[in-house]
Symmetry: C2
Subunit: 139 residues, 2 copies
DNA sequence: TATTGTTATACTCTATAACTATA
DNA sequence: TATAGTTATAGAGTATAACAATA
């Protein structure tokens, strides 16, 4: 059974940790929204514009603008879909992959330091919680 | 020992859950940034403009704009500081407090629904992880 | 007719620089 | 001279509405 304060505690801890992590910005040339798109392209491969918009839960015009910025910076590439000429395939470039790699390692360094000091039991609990949180986020 | 992807997974899950929780607002007329300011005023009492800007880690002009929107909506009130006439004290109104209360209960209701479907083991792990995340955020 | 991507338009959030009033 | 708040200006992210090209 869920106790009343449990949801509040999880909500506050989530917001506070997200905020704390956000203060560890590494690369000023790429914004958070742009980096999130690069990360999605890096992890899941090429997307159409609408697939990217749906994944990030933003409108197609909004995603189009972000993708335009990334294209101008040479971090993504558009290419026509040979089967359906309405579609545009969007994929990350070598430069884009490089940005992801460097940024992730910088962003996660702070977190990794703290994870390394946890007990084995805490590690297991945190890994399990991470899966649950990701599942919640998808619902 | 911390495996390479663990920090990334925790970071992503935290960002995604925070983002998901943020979609639950009581009122679409209040944006995320505005609601965060209302929450700070509700929890910590009146602030000067620069104190609010510092707490939210944004520039004074940026905070000024957000505060203007909240004032026009009747959710906060400005009043002159009697001791130092350069200062403006910013406090939440009854309407503002109402928005905070309704939004918080809505967010926790959504979270509680999902918590209630977890196994006992998942509950324990999540509670333990919540404590760890809060501790990380304070460091 | 429906779908995909895009453009037009408008609003918020963000920043830096410069200005006003006060200490 | 220094500080608190504000205004001016500009760039990015967000949305809805409307449009062209294609299925």
């Amino acid at each position: 059974m869920t106790t009343p304060g449990q949801a509040s505690q999880l909500r506050l801890a989530t917001f506070r940790l997200a905020r704390r992590l956000r203060t560890h910005k590494s690369d000023d040339s790429v914004t958070d929204a742009q980096f999130t798109v690069l990360g999605a392209l890096s992890r899941f491969g090429p997307h159409t514009l609408s697939a990217l918009a749906e994944r990030e839960r933003v409108s197609a015009p909004s995603m189009n603008r972000t993708v335009n910025c990334l294209e101008e910076a040479g971090l993504i590439m558009r290419s026509e879909d040979s089967a359906d000429r309405r579609r545009t395939n969007i994929e990350i470039t070598a430069s884009g992959t490089d940005v992801v790699t460097r940024t992730v390692s910088k962003r996660d360094a702070w977190l990794t330091e703290r994870l390394n000091e946890l007990s084995h039991e805490d590690h297991v609990a945190l890994a399990r919680a991470t899966e649950i949180m990701a599942r919640f986020a998808d619902q």
